[in-house]
Symmetry: C2
Subunit: 257 residues, 2 copies
């Protein structure tokens, strides 16, 4: 049987430990091609590069699989991989392992998850992986067996059209994770705050920062709850933004306007 | 009664005709504050600026309402408006009028719509408006009465928690639009293609382009169908990405992994 073709990308950029770990694990499961941004592109959401041109190159490295970088976003990287690099339609796309959480509402800002949705839009079974540790030296040891098992499941069973998978890992501790929980995205909100500074020319500038509020703290079926209890969270996601439950309710507006 | 406070933003940047039209219409309905990117930021999705600092300034213009620009994305503009500029929680956020379509899957790349979702996340009733005409000289005349009516409806009735509204206008023709249709987002896909060029130093670069495919062409309940038939499309949208229908199906994975 032919080995599955696996596209690996991320948003922390090609030099992050997370993508090295992910590509290593995937190379035990199939034929890996890495295509990732040449620099960190966290918080870029589903951005694409349209005002400037895109370049990409194959790195002169030899980890046992080809590695390409691109000057665009994670979503651009998926588009370039599909159209210019991969020899055929891939069997799997994995994105990450992100250094930092993509649970709850973080998903909407996440370019790690955007790459996953872009893969799903192209009909590729796609999974995002994120570890709740921002450190560039984060330890992925407890996460590795779960990455492998979830990827094997998706390779085996596929995913329904229009859907993908978002996996988050609790911060690494001494003890391993308790298991996997299938969850929904918790309701949450960033209470942002801008740190004001003054540049040498006396002009004010602002750094975006904030505090995350879990607005679903009482619920037990959310990703936030699973992660807090040392479970790996798995949220099935989709790219249909329609609030279907509102359509009938709004139908009366057709006459009023 | 106090006039409603209306935040106006866009992704085509402060100099676009679309935002001037939108701010003008809104100034007939309430107290307007414009906060928008200082340059075009189309296709930026839900990107936020975290690797570089943000600056904003009040313009020395006098259209009858204050106008601020920001060097960040549309989502940054909403965050800056909320935290640094607006005197109180706004009653309405409107984004656009975009020069170009945000129907079907375009919504996921759209920073016009991302600003709307960011507003909804902050509890502000929020509406995005887009015209299916990319021209900087597009004619918004047929759109204007619908903008006003939909905004009035939202100001009057509010929107359910976690939801917002995405409105698209057909390309302007001689005859006015037939009316408003409440729809779902059509299934669609960009079949992208990269145009290859060679720079003066003999290095290849690529421009992202593509063709949109409506994969829901037989359906009559979609935004694409409404727009094709000269109706204004209104799609209720949400920022919960969870594919709720898959949760039960995936529960068995909890034991298998």
């Amino acid at each position: 049987m032919k080995k599955p073709l696996i596209l690996v990308t991320n948003d922390d950029g090609i030099n992050a430990a997370g993508i090295r770990n992910l590509a290593e694990i995937m190379s035990e499961m199939g034929e890996v091609v890495v295509v990732a941004p040449d620099q960190p592109r966290s918080g870029q959401g589903h951005a694409i590069t349209i005002e400037t041109p895109i370049k990409y190159q194959k790195l002169n490295s030899n980890p046992g699989y080809p590695v390409y970088t691109c000057n665009g976003t994670p979503v651009d990287s998926v588009k370039i991989a599909k159209n210019r690099i991969l020899p055929r339609h891939p069997d799997l796309l994995v994105s990450g392992i992100n250094h930092g959480s993509n649970s709850s509402i973080n998903i909407i800002y996440s370019a790690t998850v955007a790459a996953v949705l872009e893969g799903a839009m192209a009909g590729i079974p796609s999974i995002g992986f994120s570890l709740l540790d921002y450190s560039p030296f984060a330890n992925f040891d407890h996460a590795r067996p779960f990455v492998k098992k979830v990827a094997a499941k998706v390779l085996e069973e596929g995913l329904p059209e229009g859907t993908a998978i978002n996996v988050n890992f609790p911060p690494p501790k001494d003890k391993p994770y308790k298991g996997l929980k299938v969850c929904r995205q918790a309701k949450g909100q960033w209470e942002e705050d801008f740190e004001v500074r003054t540049d040498p020319r006396k002009s004010e500038y602002f750094w975006l920062k904030g505090i995350f509020n879990n607005m679903d703290a009482a619920a037990t079926d959310t990703d936030e709850h699973a992660l807090k209890n040392n479970y790996v969270s798995l949220v099935p996601i989709q790219f249909d933004f329609t609030a279907h439950h509102m359509i009938n309710e709004l139908k009366s507006w057709e006459n009023d306007t």
